[in-house]
């Protein structure tokens, strides 16, 4: 009996070894409090891979998806990266949280695995790693756009800058504060909170007693929703300016009508790209709203497929050279990269949530 199991195990092993698909991977918070972002990435990547495979795959071979869950925990991100290296993936789309992407990228770099990420912390591409490409903007661009907008459009109102102490949140908030102060506007408050709690009544009282009407926030939508709801309960009318994470519609379900007071910066909306209309429609037919990171994950897989086709190889050196030099048509627009690996797409736009939908603010 035991012998049979052993044999079965061996034949299973043999099967996996004989597998000739290209293994591509995504990694991000599939569980944990930011799991909805991981869900968006997975939906986008799955659709892209199905589409690519339906057209015959890449270089005559099918793509196969591996999913890594780092729960936005840097330690777990490194072990996910090691596991992915062992599985011999050829391309990684991830991670999502900057604080996970940065340590994980060292592991991929050592094992020469190409990655495309949406993490926005400047340090992601500032460390001279050759294997990492960014298909999203950077927090210093984002903070500048957000901060200047606040300083220009809320003249005479008291402004606070608050962050959640994460690599992403603190980086963004610092840039926003810098941009606001560059416009000769004095900050009424500069605060930090602990993400993952439910009670922000202390922060709300403090904002209220300082007479703050506008809060520039570096952090995730879950905290903004709670702060807004608690501000409303305490009788404080608060306008929030946030970053790209505010694209998540959970913000609206959780904050209700108060979400109409949320402004944020994000890359130009890929759903508005006329070339992507067909894919947007197919996502909606599949009951997936292509919001937030869905289209980016789709684009990342397109980016890999096109790079591999152009390079006629899936070897790291060929892929890296082709990706840096080339120009790629994706659902989020034409992607080209600079020497650091940052993309040259047009930067950030200011959006506002209104009645559960977000759109560019009126100029």
């Amino acid at each position: 009996m035991r012998k049979n199991i052993l044999l079965a195990g061996l034949s299973l092993l043999a099967c996996t070894a004989a597998y000739a698909d290209h293994l591509v991977a995504i990694a991000g918070p599939m569980t944990g409090q930011y799991a909805s972002a991981g869900d968006q990435i997975r939906k986008g990547a799955e659709m892209a891979i199905a589409d690519i495979n339906a057209k015959g795959g890449v270089l005559g071979q099918m793509l196969k998806l591996e999913v890594g869950d780092d729960a936005c925990d840097p330690k777990q991100a490194v072990s996910v990266a090691n596991a992915m290296v062992n599985k011999k993936i050829v391309f990684m789309h991830g991670h999502w949280c900057s604080s996970s992407t940065i340590p994980a990228s060292d592991v991929y770099n050592e094992s020469q695995i190409l990655m495309a990420t949406v993490s926005t912390n400047p340090q992601v591409t500032e460390r001279g790693l050759k294997n990492i490409f960014r298909i999203m903007g950077r927090d210093d661009q984002q903070g500048l756009v957000a901060g200047s907008y606040v300083a220009d459009h809320f003249k005479g109102k008291k402004i606070a800058v608050v962050d959640d102490k994460s690599a992403y949140g603190k980086g963004l908030a610092d840039e926003m504060a810098k941009a606001i102060e560059a416009k000769k506007v004095k900050l009424a408050l500069r605060e930090s909170i602990t993400a993952g709690e439910k009670d922000y009544s202390g922060l709300v009282s403090k904002l209220k007693s300082a007479g703050v009407e506008v809060m520039a926030f570096g952090g995730y939508h879950t905290e903004v929703a709670l702060i807004l709801r608690q501000a409303q309960q305490a009788g404080l009318k608060l306008t929030v300016m946030g970053g790209d994470t505010m694209t998540n519609s959970e913000l609206v379900t959780a904050a209700g009508a108060a979400s109409d007071n949320v402004l944020f910066t994000f890359s130009p909306d890929p759903r508005k790209n006329p070339a992507a209309a067909d894919i947007v429609k197919r996502f909606r037919d599949a009951k997936v709203e292509p919001e937030g990171y869905v289209m980016y994950a789709y684009a990342a897989m397109q980016l890999f497929a096109q790079t591999a086709e152009k390079a006629k190889s899936t070897k790291y050196a060929d892929l890296e050279k082709t990706m840096r030099a080339g120009s790629f048509d994706t659902v989020i627009g034409k992607l080209t990269f600079d020497a650091k690996g940052d993309n040259k797409l047009p930067g950030f736009m200011v959006y506002r949530w209104t009645g559960g939908k977000y759109d560019y603010v009126a100029k």
Binding site: T31, Q33, A35, D39, G235, A254
Partner: protein, 304 residues
């Protein structure tokens, strides 16, 4: 001054919620000497039951707030106490009599199990409810700052006080309370006297779960959002409160929880909020240095 008063209200509310959960930790520790790490997740499950309840009632067209609250409270307490019972029956009872560390590990496992179960069945997304209890009292205004007392805060504080009174009565005056205290003192002797120890322990878990369920419902009303992860942070805070007040002591848990809530609220108001948790734990360590068994805890005396 107005800010201080506002933070006093916020701190008491927070402390009351911690307190309801802390009781569960301290009671279980008292009776079987283990930390039930899954307790925070029991609270999370009850918050989910509350969200489901409120949503269902709204769909059925129940518009009376007191009625909705009462129904949800009863349903949540019933279901959650079953969870409390099941957790004890499956994860801890089979390990009774093994090393002290074994149930600790199975508690952590149970906590992960409950979190992932809720995540898989309910989804990872935040579950919000429409505000149930809107509005409040404006108490006074000093220098443009209006001290606001929300109805939901009043509800939390009143319910907590009422439950604590009822609970003290149950433990001190009823026959179940006597059995419970007997088990705490000496399980073998209690069994020799013909008391079903296993049943008493099960009841203790159910009682703890009921209080956590009330906390879950109140928090849902107050904050309006739940996710599968809320049990973790609150669980840690409540556990800290229980140690602060002296683990094993019921009034201690309540006192620790209220102090915990007040420290957090006042620290956030006047000092850098990023050090809030550092401050809470620093004060905890200081207290434990001078009173190793917590504020109201009694040192264990080995009787010969």
């Amino acid at each position: 001054m107005a800010l201080a008063l506002q933070q006093l209200i916020n701190g008491l509310t927070l402390g009351a919620v911690y307190g309801l959960i802390a009781i569960g930790y301290t009671m279980v520790y008292g009776i079987i000497g283990m930390i039930n790490f899954a307790h925070g997740d029991i609270y999370m499950v009850s918050a989910f039951i509350a969200v489901t309840g409120f949503t269902l009632l709204a769909a059925l067209g129940v518009s009376s707030v007191p009625l909705a609250l009462l129904v949800v409270l009863v349903v949540s307490v019933l279901f959650t106490s079953v969870y409390g019972w099941a957790v004890e029956r499956t994860a801890y009872r089979p390990l009774r009599g093994s090393t002290r560390l074994a149930p600790l590990i199975s508690a952590i496992g149970m906590s992960i199990f409950l979190q992932n179960m809720v995540q898989l069945t309910q989804g990872a997304r935040v579950k919000p409810i429409a505000p149930v209890l809107i509005g409040g009292f404006d108490l006074l205004t000093i220098d443009d700052f209006t001290v606001h007392l929300a109805y939901s805060q009043v509800l939390i504080i009143l319910v907590t006080v009422a439950l604590m009174l009822a609970f003290t009565f149950v433990i001190n005056r009823t026959s179940f309370g006597r059995q419970q205290r007997a088990c705490e003192q000496d399980r073998t002797m209690t069994a020799l006297l013909g008391i079903d120890v296993d049943r008493t322990i099960s009841f203790t878990f159910m009682l703890g779960a009921m209080l956590a369920a009330v906390a879950g419902v109140l928090v849902t009303v107050y904050y309006g959002v739940v996710d599968f992860y809320i049990g973790f942070v609150v669980g840690i805070k409540a556990f800290t409160a229980a140690v602060f007040g002296g683990i094993g002591s019921l009034p201690g848990a309540m006192l620790g929880a209220i102090l915990n809530g007040l420290i957090e609220a006042f620290w956030v108001a006047y000092l850098p909020p990023e050090y809030k948790d550092v401050a809470t734990f620093a004060i905890l360590i200081l207290v434990l240095m001078f009173r190793p068994s917590g504020l109201l805890g009694r040192p264990e005396v080995e009787k010969v």
